[in-house]
Amino acid sequence: MTVTERPAVSEVSAPTRTRVPPWRNPWRRPYVLAAITWAYILWSLVPVLIAIQFSFNDGRSRSTWQGFSLQWYCCNEGSVFEDPSMLHSLRNSLILGIATVLVATPLGVALAMGLTRWRSRASGVANGIALIPLVTPEIVVGSALYLVFVNLYQFVPLGRPAMLLGHVTFSVSYVLVIVRSRLLSIGGEYEEAARDLGANSLQGIRTILLPLLMPAVFASAMIVFAASLDDFVVSQFLFGSAENETVPILLYNSVRASPTPALNALATILLVGTFLALILTVLVLKARRRGSDESALETLADWG
């Protein structure tokens, strides 16, 4: 190894070891990388924390702190719980999220089981179709759904029904990917054993496969819920009229019109809802994975 010459002080005390400049020492502490990482984390989260802080502002300003108050959440004119359109959007988002979970999860789980265990050319094609929504830009999905509801499926009115169909469509692929990776890691042996012991295929699915899949099913349900609460583009193309606005649409529409801290309060409530779903998922995954060396967080990261 060539060493750039430096008058090394330690040469006397350790004559056998070559002195390595810091940038060539693999065991040096990575201060620069650590600094970048923490700076990134601050940059990505502090603005949101400040926005949450201003939802508790005791005044109309969203840039000058005037003391703590809950007036933008409740019981004051213009607060979230006194503003009919904000309350309405919260209700719409919640109902849409729950309905999407209820439709997309069974659909996606059945699709994942079918596509993983059924080996034929048709299943390969179906698999391809099911993965394309994951990589299609949302604006393409949204505008395609909009055009089909307006021109062909006219029996589905724009608004909640169309939004539900749209949200389920992009959610099915999430469920498929998560449940399938679990199915592949389980392997076919358990079902074979069940069959050898005399269970028919349906019994095999109900008593063996579904219980083994439960963590993945639960996690995908929560991710679908969060994705539905989070969705903006598909909803915006399909919501039709103002009474069907979800929270993200309302935030988007009012952010440029003179907003009050009530908008921040609404965003905070949405955020709390999503994080409750997340915490529940992590806890359930943790409980299920006790003894495994992979942490629940890393599982989530891998699915990303």
Partner: protein, 304 residues
Amino acid sequence: MPDRPSGHDRATRRLWPTLALPGTLWLIALFVVPTYAVMAVAFSGQINIFNEPIPAWNPLDWEFSTFTTVVTDSFTPSGVYHEVWVRTAIYSFWALVICVSIGYPVAYYTARLAGRRRGLILALILAPWWINYITRMLAWINLLQDDGYVNKALGWFGIPPHAWLSGSSFTVVWALAYGYLPYFIIPLFASLDRIDERLLEASRDLGVGTVRTFLHVTLPLSRMGLITALVITALPMAGDYYTNTIVSGSPNTNMVGNQIELFLLEGPQKNIGAGLVLLLSLVLMFFMFYYLILTQRASREATR
């Protein structure tokens, strides 16, 4: 799993396609047909009394005059949409450059060097995933207002306040990078995390310096993750319109997505909007399929 002839086999063979059927039909009705609807509208040759295009469902009725105009207007320097396309490419390019230069160090540090704090850092990096995109933009609107914290902070250094939110390309590019960085970091983290520590140790033991180890071992091994991360961020970024509307709102920073939204939701010329969607999909198709093929290959290798 070898196929063994047994009494249950026929029932099983029917079971899997049956399970896959509802999901497949759903995706055909609500993903494949809508995609076709985009073409039917884009290639429509007739308009109704509202000046809206009548979709041409029969491919024999397709007329390409509108679409040809859209293509020429997009790709010839004097065309109406040319500027918008160029802007989309430039904004996406610079936002991706920021993503790589911030995202790679962060993912690398988290995956390889974070040590004891790894769980905490991972949780903090994942957190923005669960915060609504519109909320994260809203947070910046608070900070970037004329009397917001950013201008106040600049004031301490004697820098005059800047109008960040009125049509600044700089703001849009950084907002895009801020919005999509979390989605960039995670796939990269997952691939860096999978690199076998022993390879890096071997490289160190052979006396290779940190920089060369990175260039010759880590970087090639994380190539797949880097490509995934780039594709996953580039696809939605190219079709983004809401970031732009929120942080700029000026036609001087319009991207293709804004143009599509304008034609589809706010005017009668839906055939031009559909034509732009189609063109955007064709441009992005290359990346989508490249990515799908890579992931299919990777999942085949994983199951082998």
